[in-house]
Subunit: 193 residues, 2 copies
């Protein structure tokens, strides 16, 4: 095995550098928002040499795209509570927390997606993957006979989660966790339409 | 009546200048997006002297805020079709069209709201007013005995419209008018929860 192979294998030096840099991106986003995210700030915080950061990620947009790409290879899966309603409530609580926690990386990434086409495209891919994985909660409900086999998994997951993003990010209105649960319950009944 | 009074009364010169400038803002946004919106471009297109535009609106953000404020004084009201489902379908079709028409002023204003705090605040006020007015579709359904008197008008209108914004703007996925109708139908059943 050559040194190059060793460096780029999973868990090798390349993976370690990536993990350090992406952790620094998250920390910088949390502290300064997208406007305060700089290549030099990320390099300084990560302890990775700035020429490496510039060579590998090119730009702030490149850092954000790689952060979103890294989510595609994690092992996230929706909770399995035994009912469609329970699963959607759990899903909504995850979304709710990600948008109301301070500082919210999710909010920062969404704001950035309206400013940088590359970030917009990367966020689209990230969400397409997340909603695909979320669809299993509807498939399980179909298998249990809870909802008809024709139920549109994507539409149910969008109906559950969309009001949280809309109310908090676009309408910029407050929202309680109980309201987020209620939207999940309403979406759970979508299957029976 | 002094000349100053005459100039600022509704329908007077001040109102005419405002209408010309805001029409130019819409046209420039449609043509160039928020990134291409400039004070000089708006002045040139409107035919209003640039010193007047700078004195009265100060900045591009000021133009956008005034555009949104002007929506608060229009006579928009949701359609009255005779049923909650029909009213929500009509509402969703308006939202759907505003986001899928090319060019979409709504998309441009939403993108701008993530970049300029003043635009974010103005859009929040604009939407608070729009959702307040939309609530009448639920009040009419309560009056007809279609849904319980405890039905949350705001939650029903958010549940109907949120999936359109979420799917088209945040998830950046295509959507048909039929899907938009379906989300309206699901929201109409929220009252019976």
């Amino acid at each position: 095995m050559s040194e190059a192979d060793r460096a780029s294998r999973p868990g090798g030096r390349t993976a370690r550098v990536r993990a350090e840099v992406l952790a620094a991106v998250v920390a910088e986003l949390a502290e300064h928002g997208y406007d305060g995210l700089t290549m030099d700030g990320v390099a300084a915080r990560s302890g990775v040499h700035r020429t490496t950061v510039y060579r590998r990620w090119k730009s702030v947009a490149g850092l954000l795209v790689d952060l979103l790409d890294s989510g595609a290879t994690d092992d996230w899966a929706p909770a399995d509570t035994g009912t469609l309603e329970g699963d959607l409530i759990a899903l909504n609580r995850e979304v709710y927390e990600s948008l109301t926690i301070e500082p919210s990386i999710t909010r920062a990434v969404i704001a950035a997606s309206f400013r940088t086409p590359e970030a917009g495209a990367a966020l689209r891919e990230f969400w397409a993957d997340r909603y695909r994985r979320s669809g299993v909660v509807v498939q399980r409900a179909i298998d249990r006979g809870e909802v008809p086999a024709t139920t549109d998994a994507y539409a149910v997951c969008v109906a559950a989660t969309a009001p949280i993003y809309h109310q908090l990010l676009l309408l910029r209105q407050p929202m309680t966790a109980a309201e987020s649960d209620r939207y999940a319950r309403a979406a759970a009944r979508l299957g029976s339409s």
